[in-house]
């Protein structure tokens, strides 16, 4: 029973990471209807920036944390403006090729600037187990807490601020939004910036667990995809729920059914399964196309 509980709690902690990545994917999907294949590598690169700020510049963790989020925001904004904006009306294949291009560029840049050696990433949370239990660490608890906090902040932002409303309008109906004076292009770039920031948060939280190296996000990105699809790719809340479900399911399956070696295959089966059985996900909107 204890081992079982342990699996559930560490699943929830992993789920927090998947939920953050899924949230970043959903941000870009709702705004542009594209799935960002470079999301994982962008997060990885942001994490390296955070690492450099902490270890090499010597900033305190939380200062570096927020500075990284800001840098990631600017980087995401710039990437949308420079790379993706000119491709807006190109076919899907061109855009996916550009995403893959970004993926390999960030991977190579990280290897070039920071080398391929594995690095430890600090955690801002105390190492002693909280409240004397042995099921989860402060870092796990902090991960879940930060994920939920990010979700609440995003919810508040989109629900209660004029800018959030404008971004929703731009994503929902670009043409009408433009007619009422919203700068749709700017809103899309802001969405990219937000997504890059959320990815950076996920990267910094997970790097403490999986250690920092240029390929650290590939498996996590796959689980992020699975979470986003399971929750509904156009539903931020669904993505977070999906993340926690996937995290717990992955840990339980890994511990009791198939072993840890096939974890990525679980994500593959999950992705294909959701796409086939329920393409809209648990909480997504069913998409109807007029022909």
């Amino acid at each position: 029973m204890e081992a079982f509980l342990h699996q559930i709690f560490s699943g929830l902690a992993a789920g927090g990471i998947y939920a953050s990545v899924a949230l970043a994917l959903v941000m870009i999907y709702t705004a542009t209807h594209h799935i960002n294949f470079a999301q994982g590598e962008m997060a990885m690169f942001a994490t390296y920036i955070g690492w450099a700020l902490i270890e090499q510049v010597g900033l305190p963790y939380w200062v570096a944390f927020f500075l990284t989020i800001a840098i990631a925001f600017v980087a995401g904004f710039t990437i949308e403006r420079i790379v993706l904006r000119p491709l807006a009306d190109k076919p899907v294949l061109s855009i996916i090729i550009a995403f893959i291009g970004l993926l390999v560029i960030f991977n190579a840049l990280a290897g070039f600037f920071f080398s391929y050696t594995i690095k430890a990433f600090p955690s801002p949370f105390p190492t002693s187990p909280p409240f004397g239990n042995k099921f989860l660490s402060w870092h796990d608890l902090g991960t879940v807490g930060i994920t939920v906090m990010v979700l609440l902040l995003l919810f508040g932002f989109f629900r209660f601020t004029p800018l959030g409303l404008a971004m929703r309008a731009a994503a929902f109906n670009p043409e009408s939004a433009r007619l009422v004076g919203i700068r749709v292009g700017l809103m899309l770039a802001l969405g990219w910036g937000l997504a890059a920031s959320i990815g950076g948060i996920a990267g910094m939280l997970v790097a403490h667990v999986v250690y920092l190296d240029p390929n650290m996000m590939s498996g996590i990105l796959l689980y992020g995809f699975a979470s986003a699809l399971l929750g509904g790719i156009d539903n931020p809340g669904g993505a977070v729920v999906g993340g926690f479900i996937v995290g717990v399911a992955e840990n339980l399956l890994g511990a009791y059914v198939i072993g840890t070696e096939l974890k990525l295959s679980v994500a593959l089966v999950l992705i294909i399964g959701v796409l086939l059985v329920r393409p809209a996900g648990l909480f997504g909107r069913r998409l109807v196309t007029r022909v």
């Binding site: 000119p86 294949l93 550009a98 291009g101 390999v104 498996g219 070696e261 990525l264 593959l268 992705i271």
Partner: protein, 340 residues
Amino acid sequence: MTSNQAAAPLATPLAKPATSWVTTGIFIAVLFALPYLLPVVLPELEGIITLKANFMIFQFTLVIIYAIAILGLNIVTGYSGQISLGHGAFYAIGAYTAAVLMDKLDVPYWATVPVSGALCMVVGFLFGLPALRLTGHYLALATFALALAVPQLLKYKHIEWLTGGVQGIVILKPDAPFGIKFMNADQWLYYFCLFVACIMFWLAMNLIRGRFGRAMIAIRDHPIAAEAMGVNNAMVKSMAFGISAAYTGVAGALGAIAIAFVAPDSFTVFLSISFLVGLVIGGLASISGAIFGAIFIQFVPNIADSISKAAPWAIYGMFLIAAVYVMPTGAAGLVRRLRG
């Protein structure tokens, strides 16, 4: 968004054959003479059986193999408009099929190639059946997941007796048959791969120009119109996936024979991305583009590697993005345009 995700604006459907028969003939003749031309072009390679000459021939063998793989990817992505980011998986299946057959069952190397192709065709068709319900991003996502999962699947401990686990399988490089003395193993393999490639390219050309090819292109450009014209979309799309996987599987088998070694970590997601790079640089929906693309992915990393370990991929990435902007029809399209 309609389901017309295709590469449509990127491609010139059913253009007249890009190269005439004469140029094609000369090109093939040069390819066949290549092992003997190398010492002439590069005098420092004098004395054919030097290590360096053999290595160069080996590199050209790989170019041919990659060309077959990229041609396969082109059938599904360029012509039938389904985006696959996971063709490295079929390459891996082909390679492992060949290696296991040679290692465990002592099947002669040449016989493993059609078996690999057939097996990949079945696997590709079965993967294509559910995948055809997916379009655009979702298919890219599913195949991307496949590519990421493959190394892990190959290492799975319950099939280790078959695949050799992390260690992989070492196989013997075949010698020239019939006791031929004037050809060493590398040269023989070059000719063997070239022979297979000629057959595969010839088949592909006929496939594209025939009824099936037209059906694929019709589905890519307008799936609903194609369906209305009596094309069985589901069947054609799955078949396209299967044929494409068969091509990549054949390339994988040849690759395993040429390198004489297979291991899970040779088949990461970056292999699939290499094929995509070759496809985009070479030219979507172009037969000859596969050759340009293969030359690019074989030689550019070698040159870039001397700068830094990270340089090849940085260059790949920049070329990918640049190609989308300035060269949407790839090298083959550029050649077509230059010839007017």
